[in-house]
């Protein structure tokens, strides 16, 4: 890895060890990992379950802390969660007592933005994620896909410096997941916000990413870092193109070896 001087987000030799339970040996979740995310890149982090990819993302978000190393965003060291790093979780984390519109406006309201301004931004994002007509619905009335669309809108409405997604479509069925990928890609192609996207789905990692980082089995470290040079805008039919298939075959090999190691 050769660190680029002007990368927005820099992960420098970050490792994480969880203390052992009841006197047991401590668990090494993450070996020292370094990663640079330049502006406007869409980086997918691919790895088998339990490889520490979510831990890495949580450390970037400031929800967990590195045992060693540090994370910087625009040169500032990350010490905790903040509005500059928006996050979408795998579990449904919409606030159940707020409507779709209120959920999307949560961060803006926290910032102290006036209701009128807030309303305009919220409405724009309602359209972007295709939830027109559902603004006043409560999360429990929505399907999983709609909840995650709201969660993406909620994170983006806050205009974060980078967007972190932790297997956001992992709990969705296959068809819905495909549609969600296209939606997210469409949004990214329009405004090119820096994205870190954690997944264990190889197709997803290739289809969405401009770069794919493959992690090894626990303790996690970066095993491969591949540029994905498929042209934009990408269409779902691309998933069957020869270039895509070749890329997939290569990543399958990388991941397979790790999955076997992880057991």
């Amino acid at each position: 890895m050769n660190p680029r001087p002007h990368a927005a987000l820099r992960v420098e030799q970050v490792s994480r060890t969880f203390p052992g339970m009841r006197g047991g040996a401590p668990t090494r979740a993450l070996e020292p990992v370094s990663l640079d995310a330049p502006d406007n890149s869409f980086i997918t982090i691919l790895g088998p379950s339990g490889c520490g990819k979510s831990t890495l993302l949580r450390i970037v978000a400031g929800l967990d802390f590195p045992s060693l190393g540090r994370v910087t965003l625009d040169g500032q060291e990350v010490h905790g969660p903040g509005r500059d790093r928006g996050m979408v979780f795998q579990s449904y984390t919409l606030f159940p007592w707020l409507t779709v519109a209120e959920n999307i406006g949560f961060g803006l309201r926290q910032k102290g933005m006036r209701a009128k301004e807030r309303h305009e931004i919220v409405e724009a994002f309602v359209d972007k994620v295709g939830l027109r007509g559902f603004q006043n619905h409560y999360p429990k009335m929505l399907s999983g896909g709609m909840q995650q669309r709201t969660a993406i809108a909620r994170a983006l409405a806050n205009d974060p410096r980078i967007l972190l997604l932790d297997e956001p479509f992992g709990a969705l069925d296959n068809q819905t997941r495909g549609l969600m990928q296209e939606l997210l890609l469409g949004i990214w192609e329009a405004d090119r916000k820096t994205v870190l996207f954690v997944t264990h789905d190889i197709e997803e990692a290739i289809f969405l990413g401009s770069r794919c980082v493959v992690m090894s089995a626990r303790p996690g470290r970066i095993k491969a870092d591949l540029a994905i040079d498929l042209p934009h805008p990408r269409h779902y039919t691309m998933k069957t193109s020869p270039d895509f298939m070749e890329m997939k075959a290569r990543l399958v090999e990388e991941i397979r070896a790790e999955a076997i190691k992880a057991g």
Partner: protein, 299 residues
């Protein structure tokens, strides 16, 4: 269950149009089903019961209960000295209301319950929220509150009479002691059990620490706090009657003790039924209020 999981699985199409709220997973039973099959279907474990049937069954047991009581008393199986029959009870109740000003006693009791309960809730809910949110505060209060909640409120009555006399203050204090510690502990547990992922999501949206308490912990716990208050209000009714049995000159409990001296079991039973009815009404009111206040938390 022959019903496939596809029908209830939350898919995109489940709420595909605005206004298509939550579709009921129940399949309406065809009218042609025989009674035996319908009964068998209704008696499956965890099978929900329809709203009409629910009311019908609920009333049926009341009817059965009164029938049993009538049978025991009118049939002469129980001495009138010990248990009045339903008719006598109604007559005595009518006399209580019209001749003995029982409405005033009911009013006094309701006032005491609400007064003591509201006083306890106003102080206990904020303390419970603080304990749930900030662990050092919890560590400071929790052991004492856990100890205090096991002190029976009724055991304080003699002491409270010494301190506060037999006036209203003493009645309010009994209810306060009985409710306060329970509310504190249950609210603290509820707030402390707030979903961590919601808290984390709020942090990544730029919420401050006070923002987390105000805009995540409190709204998330609110429906359960309302539910806790409903529960504890029911207990407060028990305490008030006990408080009124000793050293009181008004209230439902006072009337019950008076009637005991006169061996008027009809009045005693009427008093007990009045307590039950008020409890039922306040419970309904509480539930309706919770439904109106927290539409998002309905299952």
């Amino acid at each position: 269950m022959p019903r496939s999981s596809i029908e209830t699985a939350p898919g995109e199409r489940q709420a595909a149009s605005p206004g298509a709220a939550s579709s009921s997973p129940d399949i309406p039973a065809p009218a042609t089903l025989s009674l035996a099959r319908r009964t068998r279907r209704a008696m499956r474990p965890l099978q929900p019961v329809g709203p009409g049937m629910r009311v019908l069954l609920g009333i049926a047991f009341f009817a059965f209960f009164v029938a049993l009581w009538s049978f025991a008393t009118f049939g002469g199986f129980v001495s009138r000295t010990f248990l009045a029959d339903p008719f006598t009870m109604v007559v005595e109740g009518w006399r209580l209301m019209t001749e003995f000003g029982f409405a005033y006693d009911i009013g006094m009791t309701v006032w005491r319950v609400l007064g003591g309960f509201i006083l306890a809730a106003v102080l206990a809910v904020p303390l419970g929220i603080a304990m749930g949110a900030w662990k050092p505060i919890e560590a400071f209060f929790e052991p004492f509150v856990s100890f205090a909640r096991y002190l029976p409120a009724s055991a304080f009555i003699p002491l409270l009479i010494l301190w506060a006399g037999i006036g209203e203050t003493q009645k309010l204090l009994v209810i306060f002691i009985g409710s306060f510690f329970q509310i504190v502990l249950m609210v603290a547990v509820t707030v402390g059990g707030t979903r961590r992922d919601l808290v984390e999501a709020a942090y990544t949206l730029g919420a401050t620490d006070t923002g987390i308490v105000r805009r995540v912990l409190i709204p998330s716990a609110a429906p359960q706090i309302a539910e806790i208050l409903r529960l504890v209000l029911g207990w407060a009714w028990t305490y008030v009657i006990v408080a009124e049995l000793i050293g009181s000159s008004s209230g439902i409990g006072h009337m019950i003790v008076d009637s005991q001296a006169l061996l008027n079991t009809g009045q005693i039973i009427f008093g007990i039924i009045v307590i039950g009815v008020i409890g039922l009404v306040s419970d309904f009111a509480f539930k309706a209020a919770n439904r109106a206040l927290f539409p998002w938390s309905l299952s």
